[in-house]
């Protein structure tokens, strides 16, 4: 067969005879390969198979059959000729893991359904067939003919009624109604051409009241499935209807989320927004909802909010391509908007935008095609430096130059050319330099840098068990896992690994500060990525204690300081970095930026306010090749033992601090004070603890102690705004208005934007004047009669007292002057379950006014809440006041009714209170009095 013959076959595919037998020449590799006619190929295949199975007259060619099949599959993967009969799969045809997973799922399902079934059966015993909301039985025995032509003549009208037979029935005959019915019928007789395309009349809410919980879940889920199916078929209105049904049976995050998506498709932005909000209320970190809300924001033109949501998403899932794409779109749109409407847009907005972009950059290191320019690029390269950390190390010995360069250019292509080039050079040097230093630092640890496989090799071959310096295999594994996780953007997980490694290190007692330094430095990078700048700084500091003047911890610490807006410290660190290595472009840029900030903040003599920039010894500078003085190493090791102990204390310290913070959140300030005090025993020089404890003291109205704590804090950190502000509040409580105003002025000088401080200052100035006027002019700051001042306080407008107690009860007015204000405060306290605030409120309310204040909104819960407040907070301090309150409370209007409606629990609270009260010895009331009072309540 010649080539011409093939081509002739190809050129005339129509002449191929589909019906006849396939000529034997066509059963040929070449012919099959060149044949493009699917139908004919199928025929050939059939012929081949027929040969194979039955006739065998042309011979059996298994390989040719296979060849034909693959060729056919290429042309038409869905060809029917390719379908083969498969035997049913069995457990053995799956991998063991897959099968055991399936079996596990099946078993859990069986158990669950058993439980469900039991509960259903249980349900059954309760309600036997109470189903009122089932529609009535259809009109009895309608006859429907089977053939179409008979419909018109024989169709029975289901709504047809017999004519009234009685005269009385004629009276009830409503002509209009009947006419309407007839009209309706005629309309029904001519159905439109397409009967089923209009929007379906689906009820969007389902009466689920008669169903039990498992039933509801099941049905809600089914309605959701229906919604999903409609969504997949691009019938979004129907999908929304079914999601709504699902939600009306049992609300679920998924249904809200899906409805939002369907509404987005229908461009019902407001509704979609509502649904997204609902999801986020239920589950604040729902990525899908955030993404969808961002889409909605984008379409509503609110690019700021959209970008913010996307940033959140990218923080959690840096690999999320949908989010990055959307962000790009938004960014470009935003820029357009800014370009077009430059006159309208306020400067501030732009700034905000910039900072946001920067954050996005840090949050998402793998963002593709992100246009970066100007200031942002200066911030990002050093980020990349951190990421590159792991990647470059393996090539540190010099032979890895080309590879790391390609790595760099790979990352670099998406940022602005200039900076990426510069950066490339600098990064190279950083990597080399740090390795060299590593190799010179200690004898066993010199491999720490270069032998680190670090999972960074673009993920091709990751040897998690590769040795790391002097670390024992389990620790080096942890470290490598951490590196890998970090590389993949799972910073929180990486953090855990590093922490484990560090702990394991301290426990194992190995002597290799370099490795520990690297671990701390890596963990710091994780913290930085997670935005936990404080911890990052701590880890960097530890790393630097182990390895003074090592580049990466310094750089990271600088960045953390910068993000905390502690520009002076950041400046110092960046400067140190530059001393070590002049070529770190990121540091240059940051220094420039911070210089500008500092000039703005501190004026022309900003340099004088800087802490001292440490002089980097020549040995540590990267361009020199001398070894580190071994004395330094020895010193570092000597310090290590001390630091180990310190570290353990550290752990305890942080837990105590967190517990303290928790208590503050719950409003248990007394307990919080205890925790903070313990903290300070461990670390007497922690500024934040002092300020926190000061806050607690303020809440407890122990102003003197609060002031002392603020003083201590200010000694440690002379510019701490919080400390100043809290001291101001303490001073205000102590009626030392002069000191108060000076503190507030200090706050405002540091940061003119603190509005609370401004407000306070205004108030305090008023108070100051009044107190000066009230008291004798000779002694302006002494013994102001308390009653008078209280009068003053009462006269001050409500916002004063509001802002005077910040934090939890910042919105609770503790000095109400009328029933309305009292009611507001009480309900605010009740909703936040803040009994302390309620107690304060009651303490400041004269008992005799209580009935009047309470009159309008006395109910069981309020009474119980007041009881709890009195019991838990006020009884200790002032039992007399409690007695007075109780004495007046029962005179409130409607009190007896409320009392009757109290629940068991609430009664218990009341009994407890009276038990406690009767245990208190007092001059103002006797046990008998309490007993009498109790009788009125219980």
């Amino acid at each position: 067969m010649s080539a011409d013959a093939f081509s002739s076959h190809q050129n005339q595919p129509t002449t191929v005879d589909y019906t006849g037998k396939v000529p034997v020449e066509h059963l040929d590799y070449d012919y099959i390969e060149k044949c493009k006619d699917v139908k004919y190929l199928e025929k050939i295949l059939r012929a081949l198979r027929y040969n194979d199975v039955v006739s065998g007259e042309e011979g059996i060619y298994p390989h040719l059959i296979q060849f034909c099949e693959t060729h056919l599959e290429k042309l038409d993967p869905r060809s029917r000729a390719l379908r083969k009969e498969n035997p049913v799969a069995t457990a053995a045809s799956l991998s063991h893991e897959e099968w055991s997973q399936i079996v596990d799922e099946l078993n859990t399902w069986q158990e669950e359904t058993k439980k469900n079934e039991a509960s259903l059966r249980h349900q059954l015993t309760f309600d036997d067939l109470v189903n009122e909301n089932i529609p009535p039985v259809r009109r009895s025995n309608s006859f429907v003919p089977l053939s179409q032509n008979s419909i018109t003549k024989d169709r029975k009208n289901p709504t047809k009624r017999a004519l009234p037979r009685d005269y009385r029935e004629w009276d009830k005959f409503n002509v209009e109604n009947e006419c309407e019915l007839i009209d309706g019928n005629t309309a029904n007789n001519d159905p439109p051409a397409s009967l089923n395309t209009g929007p379906p009349q689906i009820k969007t809410n389902v009466d689920a009241s008669s169903w039990s919980q498992p039933e509801k879940l099941l049905l809600a889920n089914r309605e959701k499935d229906k919604g999903n199916e409609a969504f997949r078929a691009n019938e979004y209105e129907e999908a929304v209807a079914y999601y709504s049904r699902s939600l009306s049976i049992a609300p679920s995050v998924a249904a809200y989320n899906n409805r939002a998506q369907a509404e987005i498709k229908l461009k019902q932005w407001d509704k979609a927004m509502e649904d997204c909000q609902k999801v986020l209320e239920l589950e604040p970190r729902n990525m899908k909802a955030l993404l969808r809300r961002a889409t909605v924001y984008k379409h509503m033109g609110n690019f700021q909010m959209a970008a913010e949501d996307l940033r959140m998403v990218l923080m959690e899932e840096p690999q999320n391509t949908a989010a990055t794409q959307l962000l790009c779109q938004i960014e470009s749109k935003n820029k357009e908007c800014q370009r077009e409407g430059k006159k309208i847009i306020i400067q501030e907005v732009e700034e905000e935008d910039d900072s946001m972009n920067e954050e996005e950059q840090t949050a998402c290191p793998v963002q593709p095609s992100q246009p970066v320019g100007g200031e942002e690029s200066s911030a990002t390269p050093d980020e990349r430096g951190d990421m590159g950390n792991a990647q470059k190390k393996p090539h540190g010995r010099g032979d890895g130059g080309p590879h790391s360069e390609s790595n760099n250019s790979h990352h670099g292509h998406w940022r602005s050319k200039g900076s990426s080039d510069k950066y490339k050079v600098s990064q190279e040097k950083v990597a080399n330099g740090s390795n060299k230093r590593g190799s010179t630092a200690s004898v066993p640890g010199d491999q720490s840098g270069s032998s680190k496989p670090a999972g960074g090799n673009t993920g091709e071959t990751v040897n998690l068990d590769a040795p790391c310096g002097a670390l024992p295999p389990p620790l080096s594994r942890l470290k490598n896992e951490g590196n890998l996780l970090f590389k993949n953007g799972q910073f929180a997980d990486a953090l855990g690994k590093y922490s484990e490694a560090i702990q394991g290190y301290t426990e194992s007692g190995i002597d290799s500060p370099d490795d520990l330094c690297v671990l701390y430095s890596n963990r710091a990078a994780c913290y930085l990525k997670d935005g936990n700048s404080q911890e990052c700084i701590q880890d960097c500091t530890r790393a630097l204690e182990l390895q003074p003047f090592s580049l990466k911890p310094l750089l990271r610490r600088a960045m953390a300081y910068e993000s905390l807006e502690r520009y002076r410290k950041a400046y110092v660190d960046y400067k140190t970095v530059l001393q070590i290595d002049m070529s770190v472009q990121a540091a240059h840029d940051s220094v420039n930026r911070i210089t500008r900030m500092l000039i703005e903040q501190d004026g022309p003599d900003w340099r004088e306010q800087l802490p001292e920039i440490p002089l980097v010894p020549l040995s540590a500078q990267q361009h020199r090749r001398e070894e580190l003085p071994s004395a330094e190493v020895l010193q570092a090791r000597a310090e290590k033992a001390a630091r180990d102990a310190e570290r353990r204390a550290e752990v305890r310290f942080t837990t105590l601090k967190q517990e303290g913070n928790e208590f503050v959140k719950k409003g248990q300030h007394q307990d919080a004070v205890g925790k903070y005090t313990e903290c300070l025993k461990l670390k007497p020089d922690e500024c934040a603890i002092y300020t926190n404890r000061a806050l607690c003291y303020l809440k407890l109205e122990r102003f003197t102690e609060a002031k002392q704590d603020c003083d201590a804090a200010l000694k440690l950190e002379p510019t701490n705004k919080k400390a100043f502000y809290r001291r101001a509040m303490a001073n205000k409580g102590l009626k030392d208005y002069v000191a108060c105003s000076s503190d507030l002025q200090e706050v405002l000088q540091q940061d003119p934007n603190v509005q609370e401080a401004e407000k306070e200052l205004e108030e305090v100035t008023v108070l100051l004047r009044q107190s000066l006027a009230d008291s004798s002019p000779a002694k302006p700051r002494k013994t102001v009669p308390i009653t008078e001042v209280e009068g003053d306080e009462d006269m001050t407008p409500a916002p004063n007292s509001e802002s005077s107690c910040r934090g939890d009860n910042s919105t609770i007015n503790l000095q109400p002057t009328n029933a309305y204000e009292f009611g507001q405060s009480l309900s605010a306290a009740r909703f936040s379950r803040n009994t302390a605030a309620c107690a304060e409120l009651l303490a400041s309310t004269p008992p005799e006014t209580l009935p009047e204040f309470l009159s309008t909104h006395l109910d069981g819960h309020t009474v119980s809440f007041i009881m709890q407040a009195l019991d838990s907070h006020l009884l200790e301090k002032d039992p007399n006041l409690v007695y007075q309150h109780l004495n007046h409370l029962h005179t409130t209007h409607r009190f007896s009714v409320v009392l009757m409606l109290l629940e068991k629990d609430e009664r218990r609270h009341m009994t407890q209170l009276f038990e406690h009260l009767s245990a208190v010895e007092s001059t103002e009331f006797s046990k008998n009095d309490v007993q009498n009072l109790a009788n009125k309540y219980i």
Partner: protein
């Protein structure tokens, strides 16, 4: 057939040989149990309940009934009661409480001859409106029953006097998306498919697919009717797009030749209406997916809407036995779990994997 592991796999999990001919098997909703209905060799009927436990199906209960039982449904019962409605060889419709299956909670002599097919709606939370059961019989009638009404059907679809009576092989409910709308589709031995509108009590549409209609099913009963699959005697099945009805052309459809022999049954996946399994006369099962066209309707030359059918693609096919697979039922609760019975006197529990990723 590239990447075979990414496709759904149909795995034979449990196989149980029975000592009777099994006609129908059904999962009991909200449980890991299924019911088998059949015919003892001595000519009596049987109901068996099995529970799936630790990789085995254990017989929990067996009841013998005077007449062979052809078909059953849970479609018209509440989730709490879960009574099964069955049709037998004698034309009786019975509803059984499976806890106490000795006497039926409802019974009626529904047809003169064998009840070939039964379906229910309005129960289990599927379908708004009253709970109703439809039966189709060899006597040519299709009757709709309400379990609350004794003795007489609420609707009766039968041939006019003088018309030839065709054997009705299959019935199915659909379109029950609100209290009023409801449709019954019936398939006959001559290839007729009739769609009855129970709201207007009229024949809404009919067609003929040239071969006996073995099984019809809507993709979902409780939505505005969307798709209908009808399987036929000679191995083809037809998927009708039920959204757009053209005054003369009716519904658009796509047909596929799936099996070399009769397609006995079609069942849609309860969790995804676009996936369905057909059971064939040669003991094989085919898993299909319907793909919608870009536009589901278009205007014809007269400007009237006409539907556009999509396409079906084969996801997986397996051969279970040499005998026909006569009934198949997906578990309503566990996605991918199904039970099927064949004329080889055995019942099998199958697991289909990767349905959630389709």
């Amino acid at each position: 057939m590239s990447a075979p592991l990414s496709k759904p796999q149909i795995i034979a999990h449990i196989q149980k040989s029975l000592n009777y001919t099994v006609f129908d098997c059904k999962w009991i909703p909200s449980s890991a149990k299924f019911v088998c209905l059949g015919n003892f060799p001595r000519g009596t009927g049987v109901i068996q309940i099995y529970e799936v436990q630790h990789g085995d199906a254990q017989l929990i209960r067996e009841v013998e009934k005077p007449k062979p039982i052809k078909c059953g449904t849970f479609g018209a019962t509440s989730l709490q009661q879960r009574h099964i409605a069955t049709g037998d060889f004698d034309g009786n419709l019975n509803i059984w409480n499976l806890e106490m299956p000795d006497i039926p909670v409802y019974n009626v002599k529904a047809h003169k001859e064998i009840v070939n097919s039964i379906d229910g709606v309005g129960g289990l939370g599927i379908g708004d409106g009253a709970p109703e059961i439809v039966t189709g019989s060899r006597d040519g009638t299709v009757k709709v029953w309400d379990p609350r009404q004794k003795d007489s059907p609420v609707a009766n679809m039968e041939p006019m006097e003088g018309e030839t009576k065709r054997d009705c092989w299959t019935v199915a409910f659909g379109h029950a998306f609100n209290d009023q709308d409801r449709c019954v589709c019936a398939g006959y031995d001559n290839g007729d498919i009739k769609l009855f509108d129970l709201r207007n009590m009229s024949l809404r549409w009919e067609t003929n697919i040239k071969n006996g209609v073995c099984c019809v099913e809507f993709d979902r009963k409780d939505i505005n009717m969307n798709k209908l699959v009808a399987t036929s005697l000679e191995g083809k099945f037809h998927v009708f797009d039920m959204r757009t009805q053209h005054p003369t052309k009716g519904f658009a459809s796509v047909s596929e030749k799936a099996h070399k022999s009769t397609v006995w049954q079609v069942r849609h996946l309860p969790q995804n209406r676009d996936i369905f399994m057909t059971a064939g006369g040669a003991g094989n099962l085919h898993l299909w997916k319907y793909e919608y066209p870009a536009q589901r309707n278009k205007k014809d030359v007269d400007g009237v809407d006409v539907g556009v059918a999509g396409s079906v693609s084969l996801l997986q096919n397996v051969t279970l036995s040499t005998q026909p697979i006569a009934s198949l039922d997906w578990s309503p609760d566990k996605q991918g779990l199904c039970v099927c019975s064949g004329f080889d006197q055995s019942v099998r529990v199958l697991i289909t994997t990767k349905l959630n990723v389709l």
